[in-house]
């Protein structure tokens, strides 16, 4: 993954190996993400896409290899990385006891910008009802409305953002992603659906699978 552009590298991964429940998911993973660049992580179910994202945001520390944020290696770089991170995981981070408007305000939006963001994801009219009473798809859109707020953090890490979105929602999201990249932001996401985004690069985790050893029970781990 060596895209030669003038834009600086923000996130770099060198020889990364992740492990879950004592099982190696992938190893020797190398890629770098530029400012204004977008990468989609591919891989079959259980290949470790979510684990990779969670490793990159520092939620799990069971990895070997190097992760650098603006040339600062983890865990030193983690803090400054989190200052400019917007992460939306499987669980959206939308409080059920709050309204969509209050949820967005919690994430630092002004009322006007929050209303506009909700409007763009077709949530107009729902801003005042509690998220508990909204559907799963609507809650998903409230979570993603964070992407439509002004002064968005420059690194977006999104885990399956397109699930439970309708066609119009996907189109709006794609447009906003392109907008974000144009402004010099970076994007890292997993998705099972194809994404229409200019300049999108791919990292396929199945290229970094751990080689099967002779034994049926799996090989000997490096760190046992």
């Amino acid at each position: 993954m060596s895209v030669t552009t003038k834009s600086p590298v923000v996130l770099q991964v060198r020889d990364l190996a992740c492990e879950r429940d004592g099982r190696r998911l992938f190893e020797g993973l190398d890629f770098s993400l530029n400012a204004g660049g977008a990468i989609q992580i591919k891989g079959s179910n259980g290949a470790g896409k979510t684990t990779l994202l969670r490793t990159l945001i520092g939620s799990t520390s069971d990895f070997s290899g190097e992760i650098l944020w603006r040339d600062k290696p983890f865990p030193r770089g983690l803090r400054s990385m989190r200052e400019s991170l917007l992460y939306v995981g499987h669980r959206g981070g939308v409080r059920g006891g709050l309204t969509p408007l209050e949820n967005l305000t919690w994430y630092g939006a002004t009322e006007a910008s929050a209303m506009e963001a909700l409007d763009r994801l077709d949530l107009f009219g729902f801003e005042g009802s509690l998220c508990n009473s909204l559907s799963a798809g609507q809650n998903r859109r409230v979570a993603l409305a964070r992407l439509f707020l002004p002064q968005s953090p420059c690194l977006w890490i999104l885990d399956e953002p397109l699930t439970a979105l309708d066609v119009a929602g996907v189109a709006a999201l794609e447009k906003q992603m392109a907008n974000h990249l144009e402004n010099g932001g970076s994007l890292l996401l997993t998705s099972h659906q194809p994404l229409n985004l200019p300049g999108l690069n791919f990292v396929d985790l199945s290229d970094f699978l751990v080689e099967e050893s002779f034994s049926d029970m799996g090989g000997e781990h490096v760190f046992n």
Partner: protein, 247 residues
Amino acid sequence: MAWQWFHRLGSPRWFYQKTSGWLPWLALASVILLVTGSVWGLGFAPEDAKQGNSYRIIFIHVPAAFLALAGYYIMAISGAIGLIWKMKLSFAVMRAAAPIGAVLTFISLFTGAVWGKPTWGTYWVWDARITSMLILLFLYIGVMALSHAVSREQVADKASALLALVGTVNIPIIYKSVDWWFTLHQPATIRLTESSSIDPSMFYPLLVMISGFYCTYAWTLLTHTRALILRREMKTQWVQQELAGEK
């Protein structure tokens, strides 16, 4: 990287192979010390003036209580090492230490209760030491229950290590408060092990028993840790060879 080096130092395989040589010696020492201490304590140590022969329970009650408490610290410290340096081995030690410590706590509670009958005329008295031991048992059970309730082994390890650490901070506070509570409610009873100046003829067999319990503890902890390592490293080749070799 530094933690990779620690990983190798705490390699379960290294530990497993290193300790197999120690086991017979530890077992031998345990048996010799326990048998000597028991015979000495039961038959040759003089009778206690106040409590008669029932005091001979001291020779197991005190060592068990000693190790029950020490075992909690061993569990918590190995848990802490695991949390800080991400050592698989020390988590295994922690998980193995929990049931052993719980059994020892139970032994000390049981012997304390049985000893209470001839001394106080009843099996259970809310004596400060016994109450503290009961709470220690609950602490052990809490750690064990938590580690069994969490399905992912790595998460279970970390969670129970943290709980063990929290318990360690609390143990001195709990002991002090129970002590204070007891003096408040029952100012004057015979304490089971009130031994400001224990006679050497009773102290030496006790010492032998304590060292015997220490050896037994070490041996048991090692064998339990080794069993746990085999289970956890089941997918590796060396464990499969190890298990296939002795059939």
